[in-house]
Symmetry: C2
Subunit: 509 residues, 2 copies
């Protein structure tokens, strides 16, 4: 398939009106020759006008039609074959196996939402039958169902060029809800975005839908995203990215004449608590498992374990030795963009100079220009509590071990943490009393609590929560992964005393 | 029971640190002698600190304990007897029968949420069992449940001194969700608020709960509400009131270091569409039914029918004649506050001078100082479309009839309306084709569509939606009436690979 470098709007290629740009191969640091046009306000205007037009017909598609469309997107992505994987490798520096796995996850996610759509469960239908004889007043017949909220702006993330990008979880859940999507592609992987965008675009044609159901806008300017969120036809926003980026979109959305919800997944350091029984039983394997989770994909995951709260009990030194050896042996790999690498390098260098640091371990240095050299730091709990710099997310394979004298100190540290996506307990049966004290506290801080696992690797399932209190996300009441994510884009409508013939079709199934 | 005029915080009477104030009897315009102390930042600080402390134990109450508490509140309200009704009559000017009905509704609402809590449905529990043999990767065991979001600030509304005030729908749903409530009482009915607040306070004691579960703050200052929404321990806000007030709270909430959701129910003119078949069959009774809904409670309802879109078909003149006669015969009654009456008088006077007005009908003039003289105006559709002043909510018994030449014009007017709580169709079987065209359009504008009813009288039920697109509410995805209202104050938590002994109790039922 030919990459044109254009915007995909209304089923057509549209030349962007802003300055063109090029992607960089982060493995080599060289510019990739394909030029992409930059989208501006004119393209936002066109895409949103078409999305608003498409909403009316798209939201009335039958459950089967909408599910077929989601499945067709997945089929069209698979049909892109190696061209997609090659493009994503060039633009992200991620290895083939990872991207093939991510493609499978993306397609499975579309199929999961297709199955959800077919089930009709998301409609959340309710019925209170009329009670004409009730005293003092009769009750009307009341029926409720959910419909899509309207056109949704989705921002592709840099770190999952497939699963959290053009046809990722936000897009799948918005389309499942009956909402057209205007996608702001991440400028780090424009060819990958265009290929997937064409797969979606072709699925729109294959399924005979209104061409405004999907648009892909790309461009390097910050103004592009702001204009999209400010457009009055956009009714909700899905975003995965930095805290600064998410907060900027939230401010724009809140200051619109009609404020709209922003579902931003932003910042998390994902504490892992090492309890004494676990340290005594398997300190070495915990060290290895931790570093494997930490360094996977150069640590560029929202759920990367950036904080270890370890009770200073027998086994702690063995854990540190095991983790140290694993980090020292860990090879460097390209980060997603030169900018991400630059921030990572500065943040880790700054922490490594911190006066409170007890120990710092670095991974293998890179040979390429933008490679992530892993970092593991050890601090004492009182030093951690004394300086909020330790609480900041470092996006990449960097983590801080906090040595805590006892459980009360672990709890004190947790009290001071901001909201998180996840928390993990490493525990044995003997740790149960401590774990029972921690779980209620962690429930108020995080969206997902794991026992004896590692937080990376987020299952796309019905019971998954990829969300959490601020700043992990902008709305702790929601998740951006799993079938519950559809509720972000739905609103209830009540039908009072409707004659059978006037009721929407879904009530007649 | 003695009214002290103090704040109710932590189970104690606390003297407010701000200037005292008095309520006004709107029926007479005279000040009621009881002085109330005004709450300020110190009281917000104290109430929120206690609410945060109480959250941990309160959210762990069993389903039965929490349901018992809600029922106990209702019992304690009933036990206040006539003292409550008398106080509410004095402070609101509403008649006894209305307030007795509202009390019953308030108690029923608490009991409905008690039943919901006992059912456990609100937990939204999900379970994806482990798939240890799955390839390429096994699946972990994933369980999900919902918990309360944290302490909630609730603003009492002026127009329902019981059902949307201290122990109203927002309080009932927040307490049902496991969230402590800090209540900002409406300064128009402080004695009513204090009495109900004491009923809640005593239920807290009766049920052995933490005294921080509930606090009542009252005061006339705008700063009080702002300080409450800005407090970092408050995690969500429920509000029913004016568009200006709701927007101000939304701005404060969005500009906090940790932004929080505001569920504000603000502004709606609730269009009623009169279709030709209905006009031909029963124009006179439609006119009477309309004016009964319009003038009920001096029109001081969020769902008051402030706009009639009538197709100019046979029966239209009969409808106008019937409505005119009904309005002219309608007696005036006191409005809730002198301020509300002043705004109503100015708005209706301004509209009555509008050059586009074809006809204006007024109800009986009042004999008291703050009585609502009903108003019914007729304009042509092109004049309505030409001036947005006709779209503004007039809080009170005022409505605009828009004469539309045909269905296309009705649809054009609807396109130009802002979001609404309700829309109503008056139709006969012969109107079905027109109604089928209108319903999809109305679904995108409103939260509830009624057939052959009147929008006032909002049933508290499982399928009710009292919400709608902005500015009807700040979040169209929610409702403030009915059991679905609990979802505003819940967030999901996922438990991955938890051993049985560590799972929260609700998974063991």
């Amino acid at each position: 398939m030919t990459i044109t470098g254009h915007q995909l709007i209304g089923g057509r290629d549209v030349r962007g009106t802003q300055a063109g740009f090029f992607a960089v191969n982060p493995a080599t640091g060289t510019q990739i020759p394909q030029e992409f046009t930059g989208a501006g306000k004119a393209e936002v205007e066109l895409a949103c006008a078409l999305a608003a037009q498409a909403f009316t017909s798209y939201r009335h598609t039958s459950l089967n039609e909408r599910a077929d469309f989601l499945e067709k997107i997945g089929q069209n992505i698979v049909a892109l074959g190696d061209q997609l994987i090659d493009a994503a490798m060039h633009e992200s520096g991620l290895p083939r196996a990872r991207l093939e796995g991510e493609r499978a996850r993306t397609v499975n996610q579309l199929n999961l939402f297709a199955a959800l759509v077919r089930s009709g469960d998301w409609l959340g239908m309710r019925h209170d039958p009329a009670l004409p004889e009730r005293k003092p007043l009769p009750r009307s017949d009341l029926r409720l169902r959910h419909i899509g909220i309207g056109p949704v702006a989705v921002f592709g993330a840099s770190n999952f060029p497939l699963a959290f990008s053009v046809a990722g979880g936000d897009t799948a859940s918005a389309l499942a809800a009956g909402c057209p999507v205007v996608l702001k592609g991440h400028p780090a992987h424009p060819a990958t975005s265009e290929l997937v965008g064409r797969a979606v675009q072709r699925a729109v044609v294959d399924c005979g839908l209104h061409a405004g159901v999907f648009a892909l806008l790309v461009g390097p300017s910050i103004e592009l995203g702001g204009a999209l969120v400010a457009d009055p036809r956009i009714k909700a926003v899905g975003f995965t990215g930095s805290r600064g980026g998410g907060m900027a979109l939230m401010r724009i959305a809140a200051s619109r004449p009609e404020p709209i919800p922003v579902f931003a997944e932003m910042s998390s350091i994902n504490p892992v608590v090492l309890l004494p029984g676990a340290l005594a039983a398997r300190a070495e394997s915990i060290g290895k498992g931790f570093v494997a989770s930490l360094t996977q994909g150069s640590g560029q995951f929202c759920t990367n374990p950036g904080l270890v709260l370890a009770i200073d009990a027998p086994g702690f030194d063995t854990f540190m030795k095991s983790a140290t050896e694993s980090v020292e042996a860990s090879p460097a790999a390209p980060m997603l963009t030169p900018a991400i690498h630059g921030v990572y390098t500065n943040q880790t260098a700054e922490l490594a100079r911190h006066g409170a640091l007890r120990q710092v371990v670095r991974g293998q240095p890179g040979s390429g220009p933008h490679e992530c050299q892993a970092a593991l730091m050890l601090v004492e709990s009182n030093d951690f509590l004394a300086d909020p710099v330790w609480h900041n997310e470092v996006f990449g394979a960097s983590s801080v071990v906090v040595r805590c004298p006892d459980l009360a100190t672990v709890q004190q540290v947790i009290t001071h943490l901001e909201g998180q996506l996840t928390a993990t307990l490493q525990m044995e049966a003997s740790d149960l009393p401590m774990a029972q004290q921690l779980v209620p506290q962690l429930e108020e801080k995080v969206g997902r609590i794991l026992v004896n696992g590692w937080p990376t690797g987020v299952e796309v399932a019905s019971a998954m929560v990829h969300g959490g209190p601020f700043p992990a996300t902008s709305d702790a009441r929601m998740t951006s992964v799993g079938t519950l994510a559809i509720t972000r884009f739905l609103r209830p409508v009540c039908y009072q005393d409707f004659p059978e013939a006037l009721l929407p079709e879904v009530f007649k199934r």
